[in-house]
C-alpha cells in the first residue's frame, strides 16, 4: 500500500529498472542543460506522449501526482513574467514540469522490489561489502514497516487530543511518537539479537 508505483499494468512496467533509471538520468541532464525553448517544449511533449501511451487511467493518475507542482510552476512563471522575462518564465515552467513528470513516470512504472534490487546491485557494483548491503536492506525494510505504524499512532494521538481539547494538537503529539519510535527500536533490536544478530 505504501508506494507510488501504479497498479495499472503498462508496457513501461516490463522494461528493466536499470535502463529506465539510466534514461531518466540522461533526460534530466538534457533538461538541465538545454536553454532552447523548442527543445524544452519537445521534451515536455514527449513526456506527455509517454503518459498517454500508457492509457487514459494511467495518464490521469500521473496528472494527479503533478497537481501541486503545477500551482508552484504557475506562480514562478507569473513572477518571471512580471519581472519582464517571459522567455525565462516559459523555460523554468517547462523544465520543472518535464523533470518532475519524467521522474514520476519512472517511479510509477517500477515496483518497489525492483528499485531496492537495483540499489543493491548498484552498491554491489561499487564494491560495497555484503555485510553493509544486508544492513541497508534491513534498515529499508524496517522503515517501510514502521512509517504506517507511527503514522497510525499520530492519527490516534490527534484524535485523542481533539476529544479533550478545543485547540489543535500540534507539536504535543511528537513527544509520544518519538518515545514510541525509541521503544519500538529497542524491541526490534532485541528481536534481531535473539535471531542471531546482523
Amino acid at each position: 500500500m505504501l508506494a507510488l508505483s501504479s497498479d495499472i499494468p503498462t508496457w513501461a512496467h516490463r522494461l528493466p529498472a536499470g535502463r529506465k533509471f539510466a534514461a531518466l538520468f540522461g533526460a534530466s541532464l538534457a533538461i538541465a542543460l538545454a536553454r532552447s525553448l523548442p527543445v524544452q517544449g519537445a521534451i515536455l511533449v514527449a513526456a506527455v506522449a509517454l503518459y498517454l501511451s500508457c492509457g487514459p487511467a494511467f495518464a490521469r493518475a500521473g496528472l494527479r501526482a503533478l497537481r501541486g507542482l503545477a500551482v508552484i510552476a504557475a506562480l514562478i512563471g507569473a513572477w518571471h513574467w512580471l519581472m519582464g522575462a517571459p522567455e525565462t518564465a516559459a523555460l523554468i515552467v517547462l523544465r520543472l514540469l518535464s523533470a518532475v513528470a519524467l521522474a514520476n513516470f519512472v517511479t510509477m512504472t517500477t515496483r518497489l522490489e525492483e528499485i531496492t534490487a537495483l540499489v543493491d546491485r548498484a552498491l554491489a557494483a561499487l564494491r560495497t561489502p555484503a555485510v553493509l548491503r544486508r544492513r541497508l536492506a534491513l534498515a529499508i525494510a524496517l522503515t517501510i514497516r514502521f512509517v504506517p505504524v507511527l503514522s497510525d499512532k499520530a492519527t490516534r494521538l490527534t484524535e485523542a487530543w481533539r476529544a479533550r481539547s478545543p485547540r489543535r494538537a500540534s507539536f504535543r503529539i511528537v513527544l509520544p511518537m518519538a518515545i514510541m519510535a525509541i521503544d519500538d527500536a529497542e524491541q526490534v533490536a532485541e528481536a534481531l539479537r535473539a535471531r542471531g544478530g546482523v
Binding site: 534498515a139 529499508i140 533490536a189
Partner: protein, 181 residues
C-alpha cells in the same frame, strides 16, 4: 549494532510519519510540515553520525518511491522540485546539530538541543534551501532569500520544540544519551 540499525530505521520512519501530518503549503513550493522537526530530532537525539544516516535513509526511501516526503510526495520527482536544496541540506543539518550539541556536557538538555537545532536546522538547512531555489528558479539571491523568509519563524518554533522534546525524551529514557554518535 542491532540497536543502531533499529534506531536509525525508526527515526527515518519518524521523519516520514511527521512529514505526513497535515500541514500547509505556502507559495513558491516549499511545504511547511513537521518534517524539519523530525530532521532536527535525528540530530539532537541520535547525534551527528547516526542522525545524518537516519536522514539519508529517509531520503533514499523517498527516492525509491515511498510517499513520505512533505505532503505525501514520492519518487525521484521530489528531487526535481525547487525545494530540492532543503532535502540536500537535511542530512548536513542533522550532522551539524549532532556536532554542536555534543560540544555540551548535557547534549540532550533543553538549551544545548535548542541551540544546536537553531544552528543546524534554521541556518544550515535554509542556506542549502536558498541555494537550491536560487539555482532552480533562476532568480537573484535576495529574491531566493525572500522566498525562504516566510518559513523561518516556523523553523525557530520547530527548533524550540525540538529542544523541549529532546529534553523530555532524555528524562523519559535516560539511556539514550549513551548511544549518541
Amino acid at each position: 549494532m542491532e540497536r543502531s540499525i533499529a534506531l536509525i530505521a525508526l527515526f527515518a520512519a519518524l521523519i516520514g510519519a511527521l512529514a505526513l501530518l497535515p500541514g500547509l503549503t505556502l507559495g513558491f513550493g516549499v511545504p511547511i510540515t513537521a518534517q524539519t522537526l523530525g530532521v532536527m530530532l535525528c540530530g539532537t537525539v541520535l547525534g551527528a553520525r547516526k542522525g545524518a544516516l537516519a536522514v539519508l535513509l529517509y531520503l533514499l526511501l523517498i527516492a525509491i518511491g515511498l510517499p513520505i516526503a512533505a505532503n505525501g510526495g514520492a519518487g525521484l520527482g521530489v528531487f526535481a522540485r525547487p525545494s530540492v536544496g532543503y532535502l540536500v541540506g537535511f542530512p548536513v543539518g542533522a550532522f551539524v546539530i549532532g556536532l554542536v550539541s555534543s560540544r555540551f556536557a548535557n547534549p540532550m538538555g533543553f538549551w544545548p538541543a535548542t541551540l544546536a537545532a537553531l544552528v543546524g536546522g534554521l541556518v544550515v538547512i535554509n542556506v542549502f534551501g536558498i541555494i537550491g531555489m536560487w539555482i532552480k528558479l533562476d532568480v537573484t539571491l535576495p529574491v531566493a532569500i525572500g522566498y525562504a523568509a516566510p518559513f523561518m519563524p516556523g523553523d525557530v518554533i520547530k527548533a524550540v520544540a525540538a529542544g523541549a522534546i529532546t529534553a523530555a525524551l532524555w528524562k523519559a529514557r535516560p539511556g539514550l544519551a549513551a548511544q549518541r554518535g
